[in-house]
């Protein structure tokens, strides 16, 4: 019993620490959008095959999350929001996250290839590479457009879901990609406006740090304008319908109006009311994406065009 103090300091990891390494909240978005992409595709898939495909797409997303935790360990250690993640807290070694990420990447890609097809599997491999290497290691630290380009990684899952069913791509999955891709910047920059995190100390060139808050507000409004046509265009493709279009018109009107108000507010008023509107806009952006994909799902059951 004399060596009991060898265990003092960083506690050993629990199972949930390894789960946290896979970023379960990001995975829930991946699961939902991949599922919608797979379901609205014009090829009927056996329900269990669809279930397995979504599971392994999500596992691939989790693997990318673990690789991101590995490469971002130094940033996470500096910022308050991420300080308690398993690696900065010392419960999991960096190398373990790298190993887990690589192993799960291989397993998820191979299994998706066996479950669905090898085009979807290759697409998943590319997505993991894009998020872990292009975004996490390279762009996040080097350009204020990091959020924009990194958004592509989050926008791939519905395309992978569609590819799992059809073995290819089409205009519909490309527009689903565009919907998430152009939604990501206003979503994250709204968060960056009210989460006063020390990106500067961490050496991450966020737009709020490099170009200031007024420029960030302009960018948010501009992206809500770019986003709207793609969201509506998706409603005119074979997966759309009157219900989707109605939902999309309302949500885009709200989103653009919100972007306009963000643009018109200055920092003093925002600080005075504790960024109340920026927080509301951030919540709206979550509903925006969720309800668009939910509308696609309901439209598909109800009968698209």
């Amino acid at each position: 019993m004399s060596d009991i103090h060898a265990y003092d300091g960083a506690p050993e990891a629990e199972f949930q620490d390894y789960v946290a390494l896979l970023k379960p909240r990001v995975m829930s978005l991946v699961v939902f959008t991949a599922f919608v992409g797979l379901l609205v595709a014009p090829v009927t898939v056996h329900p269990f095959i669809a279930f397995c495909a979504v599971i392994f797409i999500a596992l691939g997303g989790g693997a990318a999350g673990a690789l991101n935790m590995w490469s971002d360990a130094d940033i996470d250690a500096v910022m308050n929001r991420t300080r308690n993640r398993p690696i900065p807290a010392g419960r999991i070694q960096r190398g373990e996250a790298l190993g887990l990420g690589i192993a799960l990447s291989i397993i998820s890609v191979m299994m998706l290839g066996l479950v669905a097809n090898w085009f979807a599997a290759g697409f998943l491999a590319f997505t993991i590479f894009f998020y872990a290497v292009v975004y996490s290691i390279w762009l996040k630290r080097s350009t204020p457009q990091n959020i924009v380009i990194g958004g592509a990684a989050g926008a791939f899952p519905p395309m992978i879901g569609w590819a799992s069913a059809t073995g290819g791509v089409g205009i519909e999955p490309l527009l689903m990609f565009a919907l998430i891709f152009f939604w990501t910047p206003p979503h994250f920059w709204a968060l960056a406006l009210f989460m006063k995190e020390d990106y500067h100390k961490a050496g991450v060139p966020m737009l709020t740090v490099t170009h200031g808050r007024a420029a960030t507000r302009r960018h948010i409004f501009a992206y809500t304008l770019v986003l709207a046509p793609f969201a509506l265009w998706l409603g005119l493709t074979p997966v759309g319908g009157s219900l989707y279009l109605a939902v999309s018109v309302v949500l885009n009107a709200l989103f653009m109006a919100g972007g306009w108000r963000i643009l018109k507010r200055d920092e003093e008023t925002a600080i005075a009311d504790g960024y109340a509107f920026e927080k509301r806009f951030f919540r709206l952006s979550l509903y925006y994406l969720f309800l668009h994909f939910l509308a696609l799902l309901v439209q598909n059951q109800w009968g698209a065009w």
Binding site: D8, A13, F15, I49, I55
Partner: protein, 77 residues
């Protein structure tokens, strides 16, 4: 207090072991169920089983081949 620390350590290890066990068990169930579904669908089922592959034989050759195969089968003990 030292006993408490040891207990905590074992709880964490137990959580890892049970978690990994459940993950592996569910992977086994998943692969088995997937096999059942795939076999029932009949996709990509044709393996190299030392028989002429019906799908790659020319259609003309396949028809007269049928009685010959039946004879072959009769000859086998």
């Amino acid at each position: 207090m030292p006993m408490q620390a040891e207990h905590e350590l074992h709880r964490r290890r137990w959580s890892r072991n049970v978690g990994l066990g459940l993950v592996l068990a569910s992977l086994v169930v998943l692969v088995f169920a997937l096999t059942v579904v795939k076999v029932r669908q009949g996709d990509l089922m044709e393996g190299y089983d030392y028989q002429p592959r019906a799908s790659v034989l020319p259609p003309a050759a396949a028809a007269p081949d049928a009685p010959a195969r039946a004879e072959e089968k009769e000859m086998q003990p």
